[in-house]
Symmetry: C2
Subunit: 213 residues, 2 copies
Amino acid sequence: MDIAIPLFDRITALDAIGPYEVLSRLPGYRVRFVAVKAGPYKTDKQLTLIADVPLSAVPHPEILMVPGGFGTRELMTPNPLLDWIKAAHETTQWTTSVCTGSLLLGAAGLLKGLEATTHWSAMDDLAKLGAKPVETRVVVQGKIVTAAGVSSGIDMALMLAAKIAGDDVAQAIQLGIEYDPQPPFNAGSPSKAPAHILEGLRARMRERTAASR
Amino acid sequence: MDIAIPLFDRITALDAIGPYEVLSRLPGYRVRFVAVKAGPYKTDKQLTLIADVPLSAVPHPEILMVPGGFGTRELMTPNPLLDWIKAAHETTQWTTSVCTGSLLLGAAGLLKGLEATTHWSAMDDLAKLGAKPVETRVVVQGKIVTAAGVSSGIDMALMLAAKIAGDDVAQAIQLGIEYDPQPPFNAGSPSKAPAHILEGLRARMRERTAASR
């Protein structure tokens, strides 16, 4: 069974690789990195990721997992990736996203009237696509599962692993990746970060998002 | 300033990409993925990662970050990667590892008599290399910083970001990647996982490690 992770330019690497590291350990599944064209895609920093096959090679993945990144902002109008997401969703068992990957689900018309989440800085953009933004780490609406920013994909994928293969398998995966998080600070969400950190980062992200449109 | 992350066949993707996602956001630094030869390296699952340049192109990185994976077991005897690690360490500001990456630091002779950590399943192997294994998520010994299994590299990199650039920068990075972990289970370390999960996984990992030697 196939787990498809679409790549595009300027994705955020951890959005894809967090869930990949969890879901690639699910017995019976294999992860396919797909894109409009097979080949290399530059993330938003130095890393390059490789799409093994074109979108057309995986029309009916059992699990769709859409990562985010600044590159999503260039994909908001009709394009082949959105067409593929919309068509793939018709036959998936689970349609999922991390971070601003949910903006692509929204732009494909999949989130109308549904609760969904995204990176904390993109809640307004999500609302414009017809979703009801919720500031929760993972939001489940039927077979559509959206996760918050970047690192939240690890939590989402473990929850999904449990739904698919049971709690024992999910816990073995958690132990395998030694996911016993001990962040040195408690600044990982807007409600927990110091105000000056939040405002500084919000301003920098606004600039960068505007530059991506 | 350069952050060098060496790649090799059968590395664990998240070992590298967790710290990459944090450290690539450090102002003034750039991440270089290096390897014996530039080009594609297959991780322990489906993903392929690309080394941008050969080891010789980055002889003096300010930060060295060595990821782990089953592929480390084939690199325990003298080889060009260990030679490069040993030489690079002489001029680094920080020499770091995630998961069984510490076995490579050990095989390069850098951990003799030092406390260090690794994936929970590899503590015995670490002891054989002259280190004093400690079951702690991140261990700092002078400029050498070792982290536990796979996902621990995110915590390690945030700690390192704070040491290098201060608490405000580290907290802004944590907020940027929305690292507010909420794992659905509390099974991420040997002391927390249910006994039957631990024993089952330990047996499977022993088999796989033996097959890697």
